[in-house]
């Protein structure tokens, strides 16, 4: 048994915290796990990719093309970019936020239209307005936890264990907002 989850987004969106929450939740279950993070240059607004792999024994910390069971995307274009990594039968969860990359900002390139439509024609897709749900939970910063909530439902890890992980991982003063954010994502 092995599960490969790829978390993609734009540097600064909080993908790192999401991968840490996921990693901690998985460790509690006694799986072997590897989480490959990105630090450094690309965190400055570039495409960022984090891999979480768990199962009986994990070797490479990186997910190859065609091997992701779940792609959890914090941004539309980054979801589209990650498509080749999805395995046959895999699932994409995407936040419907659009963040323009510099070539689009300067007019040198166009942001692809209707990414949700194109992706759902090619893959099993769940699109979520996580920013809106995060606002409802009480903070725009909780986008990552909303998305973790959506993804959590697609794993074998029980609800309560996720809550315990959140309690262990998230600083106490942000806990309430994050618990609400998680629930909103999970209930979707």
């Amino acid at each position: 048994m092995q599960t490969n989850i790829m978390i993609v987004g734009v540097g600064g969106q909080g993908t790192l915290l999401a991968s840490r929450i996921l990693g901690n939740a998985v460790v509690r279950r006694g799986y072997d796990v590897k989480v490959s993070e990105v630090h450094g240059m690309s965190q400055r607004g570039g495409s960022v990719v984090t891999y979480v792999k768990y199962g009986d024994r994990i070797w490479s910390p990186v997910i190859d093309r065609g091997e992701a069971d779940i792609v959890l995307a914090f941004e539309l274009l980054e979801a589209y970019r990650a498509l080749p990594w999805l395995r046959a039968g895999g699932k994409i969860i995407v936040n419907t936020q659009q963040i323009n990359p510099m070539p689009v900002i300067t007019g040198a390139a166009e942001y692809p239209r209707d990414i949700v439509g194109k992706l759902s024609a090619q893959a099993d897709l769940t699109a979520v307005d996580a920013l809106e749900l995060a606002r409802r939970a009480g903070s725009e910063k909780a986008v990552n936890v909303v998305l973790i909530g959506v993804m959590a439902k697609n794993t074998a890890i029980p609800y309560d264990e996720w809550l315990e992980t959140l309690r262990d991982t998230v600083p106490a003063r942000f806990l309430d907002v994050n618990l609400r954010a998680f629930a909103l994502g999970y209930q979707l």
Binding site: H39, W59, M102
Partner: protein, 582 residues
């Protein structure tokens, strides 16, 4: 219980458990978190510091080791170039307390200016190198490195790579074993490296290499794992993990945890027991060439590549001839998303002005290297830390006064202290007229916010004496120094014009803190009003919050990206951008 730890955090834990007393480093991705983690252990047990550069850090470690304490320095691959000088001679001196130099390579250049392979340093400096492949090994190998260092009287290199440093995996942690200081005694033949003594120590070094090679044969980190079938794989570090993922139990493995010196007998026996042997290693054919020099029939680089990272599917294709299953791809070419200066970045104001003035910009390494990208497109050269100043000196000397008056150097505060100040001394001493702009954002930004000698705080957040940049520049002979807020683009433009034109060397300190620092609190958001004439001046800022609709020419500001820094309000010639408070 096992803990999920980053490779870098596991190195720190290993050093802590080994009783390390001093850690001195200069930050550099992917090595930075090792030293940051070290600073979470009690100050009474470990002295941890950010040094001004890697050479200074290495020398502090060498001194600590001579003085009898265990010590470590961590750097990125190019940092090892900077520490190479002391390291090569420390190879002769050896240690008292164990000395470990941890270097993190960056195959694929996630955050680096080149893709060099540090293993060559172990061979060139004639010192041992260990290479872990996951976090548990990071901890174990780091501890072992200190013992090895003391046992063989040698500095030890510990080699990491991005995927080892920045991956979390499960680790069993232990407790610290205090190491009493070794006695300090004056020992001139061992510690004073002048020719008469060094001649003697070189004999020791060669003899030590022989003993280390013998040790490598039995080293527990060099293992052979046999499976049926005639294929063998020699690998180390992350390449071993890729190979295991790709090939599982279909091949036999010789995993090298000690990559220098190499266990010749172990390798010979392994190769002899297989029909075909592949050396699987990223970057240079280091192990492969060593095997070939032993006369062993192995294959490697010719089938793979010296470029970038390996993947399991690449290994499967080469070794098993299996093609990866086809994958789904987007039906169109997607716009790239290169890293950009953050919204509110103080460097943006400076590069906006430099672009507008059309100057030749001798660049350096830091967040401000991003000023090279469109639309700011303001940087002409980037070599290594400090080169913005010294390379501009060379440019000015060969092309003459007129060129010098169209030329500026840009260098961050941390980089200036690292190695910019020496270039500035060169300019003053050799009668240059260059203009150097110090981009003082009060932090070491690119590597994720480390304090440095100009910030007034130590790695543990304690207040300390702050290097006074103005006083420093004045003391080396710079008479013309201006301090400007880079968001005051009009004044900055005027100062840059004036200082580049004048026939004396000058320094401009563009001072405004990094927008991501906690103390920086921009409020509200900027908004484009109907006074906008679509002149696109604001688009030239390259702000991630400001977008142009290519079809209509309309400009809009994304409130989720804008932090209200207000730079665009100031540059709009029509006063069409307004600041709204929330």
């Amino acid at each position: 219980m096992k803990k999920l730890l980053l490779g870098n955090a596991a190195v720190a834990q290993g050093a802590y458990e080994a009783g390390v007393r001093l850690v001195s480093s200069y930050p550099g991705t992917p090595s930075t978190e090792i030293t940051e983690c070290m600073a979470t252990y009690p100050a009474e047990e470990v002295f941890v510091e950010w040094a001004p550069n890697e050479k200074v850090a290495a020398e502090a470690v060498i001194g600590a080791a001579i003085a009898g304490g265990r010590a470590m320095s961590c750097c990125k691959h190019v940092g090892l170039n900077v520490m190479a000088d002391p390291l090569f001679t420390d190879a002769y001196i050896g240690v008292g307390g164990g000395a470990v130099f941890c270097v993190a390579d960056d195959p694929g250049m996630h955050s680096s200016q080149n893709e060099q392979d540090s293993r060559h340093y172990a061979k060139a400096a004639k010192i041992p190198m260990l290479e872990p492949s996951d976090s548990a090994e990071c901890l174990a190998y780091t501890k072992a490195a200190f013992d090895l260092s003391e046992r063989f009287d040698t500095p030890v290199l510990l080699r990491l790579s991005t995927r080892v440093s920045h991956s979390q995996s499960l680790v069993e942690t232990g407790i610290r074993t205090e190491q009493p200081l070794k006695d300090y005694e004056k020992n001139v033949p061992k510690n004073v490296m002048m020719p008469a003594m060094a001649i003697g120590r070189h004999v020791f070094v060669e003899e030590r290499t022989g003993r280390l090679a013998a040790y490598a044969e039995d080293c527990a980190f060099n293992t052979v794992e046999r499976h049926a079938g005639g294929i063998g794989v020699i690998a180390s570090g992350i390449s071993y993990q890729y190979a295991k993922e790709a090939l599982g139990d279909r091949v036999s493995y010789c995993k090298l945890g000690m990559v220098w010196p190499l266990p010749e007998r172990l390798l010979r026996d392994f190769v002899a027991s297989c029909e075909t042997v592949y050396v699987i290693e990223e970057l240079d054919p280091f192990l492969e060439e060593a095997c070939l020099a032993m006369g062993l029939p192995v294959q490697g680089k010719r089938l793979f590549t010296p470029l970038g990272e390996y993947t399991p599917s690449m290994i499967r294709r080469v070794v098993l001839g299996e093609e990866p299953a086809p994958v789904r791809t987007p039906a169109e070419t997607l716009p790239a998303r290169p890293p950009v200066m953050c919204a509110g970045c103080p460097h943006r104001g400076t590069f906006y002005v430099l672009h507008k003035l059309g100057l030749v910009v001798s660049g350096d390494i830091g967040c401000y290297t991003l000023g090279a990208a469109a639309p700011l497109s303001a940087v002409d050269t980037t070599v290594c830390m400090g080169a913005s100043v010294s390379a501009a000196h060379g440019m000015a000397k060969v092309r003459g006064r007129e060129f010098a008056q169209k030329l500026v150097s840009v260098i961050g505060d941390s980089t200036f202290i690292h190695s910019g100040i020496t270039g500035l001394i060169d300019i003053v001493y050799n009668k240059g007229i260059n203009t150097v702009i110090i981009l003082d954002n009060s932090i070491t930004g690119m590597t994720g916010h480390q304090d440095n000698p100009t910030t007034g705080k130590t790695i543990r957040g304690e207040a300390t004496r702050q290097v006074d940049l103005i006083g420093l520049c004045r003391s080396v002979g710079i008479d013309r120094i201006e301090v400007v807020d880079p968001f005051d683009t009009k004044r900055l433009e005027q100062v840059v014009r004036q200082e580049t034109q004048c026939e004396e060397p000058s320094v401009i300190i563009a001072q405004r803190p990094c927008a991501l620092l906690k103390k920086v609190r921009y409020t509200g958001h900027c908004r484009v009003s109907d006074r906008c004439r679509k002149c696109k001046v604001c688009i030239k800022l390259g702000c991630p919050a400001i977008s142009l609709d290519a079809a209509t020419g309309a400009v809009s500001i994304d409130p989720t990206q804008c932090n209200g820094c207000g730079l665009c309000v100031g540059v709009c010639p029509f006063g069409a951008i307004e600041k709204e408070e929330d």
